[in-house]
């Protein structure tokens, strides 16, 4: 090879430098947004039921990959955008949209900012992209929403928001509310325990109430299997922890809960401070229990490799005896079990109690995202017109509302000649989950409304309201009963109390600490390390940044706690 002379490279270098400057110049457009903010005119009494002439709200969409479209519509131009125009005089302008898989929505938002594109007036971001929502708040491009909410939100919406004052925590900065939480149904994936009632019956056993009783049941399921399965074919308790010890289906966190803590989340201690569950001594006992169960074959031998959906497989196959999961699991996936094991009957039971009478489970947040409003948006009140209407008329309307059967006829419901609702499979051209076309995904949800509807059904009432009809049709016949089982234990659900932005020390240390934690926990469960490795982990965790993180988390909590 002949040496490439410096001279030949020179022009290239120069060109490179030039290009770098060009790039620098054309990005960072966000700054202009910032300076243009502040001076936003806030017109008095701007709130209207309908705007004439129409006003515009711009937005960007992260489209759920499973969302379908019909009649040649797109997210930009759908039955819902037409409806907004006619109903409220609100023109919904799409800046862009992206099918949200592999984190594409978050990536695209970052790229849009980086390339200095116009940012949308209104953005709804799910908790999966929490980091980008926090970044957007920090960017200073988005408005403080607290005063707007107080001024314009309807009573229904405000009441719904007050059901858990903690929902604002994640989006509060220095006491200012910077984003409107998107409300979700309460308890949606708080879990209970599903058990094979037919197996219990054949073995003349009762549903286990304690961890000890549970062990006896698991042993019977495995070694005296009523369906004649050999011990190595049976998964007495189907759980997995590939991604986390704290999830929604096949979740093991209640086993720790039986000893008094929930791992991998921040729990509120008796001293009013937040503490990381994984370092609580109770976690050690939970790990020992799991380790024993793995050795006895009560839980899957590959549990460390199993994610949530994998834990459902033996349950559906009819080879699992128990699986923890949401109350609606009889609708999916457990209803298919009978096709593989014809006698299978799944029953929901309460989470078993630990040796000292303790029970805890992971609780569902009342929020699943946030809506941000851009500084300088011309008509922020128009968003409230839109959203108030949904809360008042769609979220949980009395019978007789125009949205009694659903949102849009021919999309999420269809009536037959007698005005009766058709099963959704029979909708012409197919069912479309049309609420996902709305500015805020799922339209408007009042956290406790769904459970109330289920309770009414469980008491034997005919479904009357929209929500009651919805759960009756969509959640499977056994769900109301399961919901009651769940609610019997509503005092054992504990949410992760830290919902704020990643703290400084978390940024540099958390990944390593998590890695060490997962590694240690799994090695203890698999018997590769003695249980005492846990103590070592705790001291390393604390010294390696954990104490610092705990301080930062508590500083955050002191600031936001209601």
């Amino acid at each position: 090879m002949k040496a490439i002379s410096g001279k030949r490279w020179l022009p290239l270098l120069a060109a490179g430098a030039m290009l770098a400057t060009t790039l620098a110049g054309c990005s960072g457009g966000g700054k202009t947004e910032e300076s243009a903010a502040g001076s936003a005119p806030n017109v008095e009494n701007a709130y209207k039921e309908k705007y004439d002439p129409p006003v515009t709200i711009s937005t960007a969409w992260g489209v759920d990959p499973a969302l379908t479209f019909k009649n040649g519509e797109t997210i930009e131009n759908s039955v819902a955008t037409k409806w907004a125009k006619e109903q409220f005089g609100i023109e919904i302008k799409s800046l862009w949209s992206v099918t949200d898989t592999n984190g594409a929505f978050g990536t695209k938002l970052r790229l849009a900012m980086s390339s200095g594109q116009d940012m949308p007036d209104l953005l709804t971001i799910g908790t999966a992209d929490n980091q980008i929502a926090q970044d957007l708040i920090d960017s200073g491009m988005y408005e403080e929403v607290g005063p707007l909410f107080d001024k314009y939100a309807s009573d229904t919406w405000k009441e719904a928001m007050n059901q858990d004052p903690n929902v604002w925590n994640a989006y509060t900065r220095n006491g200012k509310k910077m984003g409107i939480p998107v409300l979700d149904y309460a308890y949606n994936h708080d879990y209970l325990l599903w058990i094979r009632q037919d197996w219990l019956d054949k073995l003349n056993l009762k549903a286990p109430k304690t961890i000890d009783e549970m062990e006896k049941v698991m042993d019977a399921f495995k070694n005296r299997n009523p369906d004649g399965l050999s011990p190595d074919q049976v998964v007495p308790l189907s759980i997995g922890f590939k991604t986390s010890m704290n999830t929604w289906m096949g979740d093991p966190s209640w086993i720790f809960g039986a000893y008094g803590t929930l791992p991998q989340q921040w729990n509120l201690g008796e001293d009013g401070k937040l503490a990381y569950g994984s370092t609580d001594p109770a976690t050690k006992e939970g790990l020992q229990k799991l380790s024993g169960w793995l050795a006895k074959g009560y839980i899957p031998q590959e549990a460390a490799l199993w994610d949530e959906n994998k834990t459902a497989e033996p349950a559906v196959a009819g080879t699992a005896g128990m699986i923890p999961g949401p109350y609606w699991m009889s609708g999916w996936p457990l209803k298919d079990t009978v096709q593989n094991a014809p006698n299978a009957v799944w029953t929901p039971i309460e989470i078993p109690v630990g040796p000292e009478g303790k029970t805890m489970r992971h609780g569902t947040q009342f929020t699943n995202g946030v809506t941000l409003i851009k500084k300088g948006m011309e008509h922020p009140e128009a968003f409230f017109t839109y959203q108030n209407y949904l809360f008042d008329n769609y979220a949980n309307p009395e019978p007789g509302s125009p949205y009694d059967n659903g949102l849009f006829a021919g999309y999420d419901y269809q009536l037959d000649a007698n005005g009766k609702q058709l099963p959704i499979e029979e909708i012409d051209g197919g069912y479309v989950n049309v609420v996902r076309y709305l500015l805020v995904r799922d339209g408007a949800r009042i956290p406790d409304a769904q459970m109330k509807a289920l309770q009414s059904l469980a008491e034997g009432n005919e479904p009357k309201t929209k929500l009651e009809k919805d759960v009756a049709v969509n959640y499977g016949p056994e769900t109301p009963a399961a919901a009651q089982v769940l609610l019997k234990q509503d005092d054992i659900s504990y949410k992760n109390m830290f919902t704020g932005p990643t703290t400084e020390t978390m940024k540099s240390k958390m990944d390593y600490l998590n890695k060490m934690e997962n590694q240690t926990f799994n090695e203890i469960i698999y018997g590769k390390k003695p249980a005492d490795a846990f103590d070592e982990f705790v001291s390393t965790w604390k010294a390696g940044g954990g104490d610092q993180i705990t301080q930062e988390v508590n500083a955050w909590y002191d600031e936001v706690k209601p």
């Binding site: 966000g30 960017s139 200073g140 031998q301 990944d511 590769k528 390696g544």
Partner: protein, 296 residues
């Protein structure tokens, strides 16, 4: 002056490729400066804070930095070597199958796994390699095992490398088959007359003829020396094998991609590129010096 007259068409031929390279490769390279920034999307490249070598420091100063880089190197180099050797040997063996239909049939079948993504293959492997899965049952029949292939630090790298070869060797064979078909048949005829055995023919004609293309493919593969295969590891790894299985890319995914730390991501990319560049330079020189072959 004379050479210029003769070569302007050559420059012209390179023009389209150069335009594409400038637009889609060299201009975006300006973004490399992000490696030295605490990049914030809303501030852009022009407005983000300069942090010197902080991003690189973060890569090297973690408690497990050495472990992660070491894992990456080992897995990547094993893959690199075996993904050269296996297709190379396979191509030579396949060349000995004399029935054209059978030869083509085998060739087509081994090329199939390349087209399934690791998401799918990962799911299949977890079942196949389970303690009660097909592989362990087969091994058990011969009195081995059971092995926890995906949950054992001693076996994980082996499993990863082997399954990667299984997926890719058929596809990688194509280049060698193309090169094999190009060997001048008269060479074999001459050897035949000299009474050389097939083994000798292979050693003295076939293999030397394939060496240049082997060097080309091998050198270019060095560009991936710090890529141990994100998709594969991400779908197969689990806390039990972090010690031997966590690689730079999975680590970057958890820290940079999920958190939007683009400056750090760029820094890691730049580090990997520099290592690759150095290795390619060395390999290029060695090939020229020892084999007299200019790879590009």
């Amino acid at each position: 002056m004379k050479t210029l007259k003769k070569t302007w068409p050559l420059h012209l031929m390179l023009l389209p490729a150069m335009i594409f390279l400038i637009v889609f490769s060299f201009i975006p390279m300006g973004g490399i400066v992000m490696a030295f920034q605490d990049y914030k999307p809303w501030l852009g490249i022009g407005g983000s804070e300069w942090v010197g070598l902080d991003n690189f420091r973060y890569l090297f100063e973690r408690e497990d930095s050495v472990q992660v880089i070491w894992n990456t190197l080992i897995i990547a180099i094993l893959k690199l070597v075996f993904n050269l050797v296996v297709p190379f040997v396979f191509a030579i063996l396949l060349n000995e199958v004399r029935k054209t239909a059978l030869q083509r049939g085998i060739q087509t079948l081994v090329y199939l796994p390349h087209f399934l993504s690791w998401v799918i293959l990962g799911g299949i492997l977890i079942d196949l390699l389970a303690t009660g899965g097909l592989v362990n049952r087969t091994l058990g029949f011969f009195g081995f095992g059971p092995y926890f292939f995906l949950g054992d630090n001693d076996l994980f790298r082996f499993t990863v490398v082997l399954s990667d070869i299984w997926k890719e060797f058929g596809y990688s064979t194509i280049i060698f088959l193309a090169a094999l078909a190009g060997i001048d048949p008269s060479q074999y005829e001459a050897a035949e007359i000299d009474g050389a055995t097939r083994l000798k023919q292979t050693l003295h004609i076939t293999i030397p003829s394939l060496i240049p293309i082997l060097m080309v493919v091998g050198t270019l593969a060095l560009g991936n020396v710090l890529n141990a295969g994100f998709d594969q590891i991400f779908n197969l790894y689990n806390p039990l094998v972090y010690e031997k299985g966590d690689i730079i890319d999975t680590f970057v995914y958890r820290t940079a991609i999920l958190n939007g730390e683009m400056g750090f991501g760029t820094a890691v990319g730049l580090f990997k590129s520099m290592i690759s560049m150095v290795l390619i330079l060395i390999s290029y020189r060695l090939a020229y010096k020892w084999a007299g072959y200019r790879i590009f």
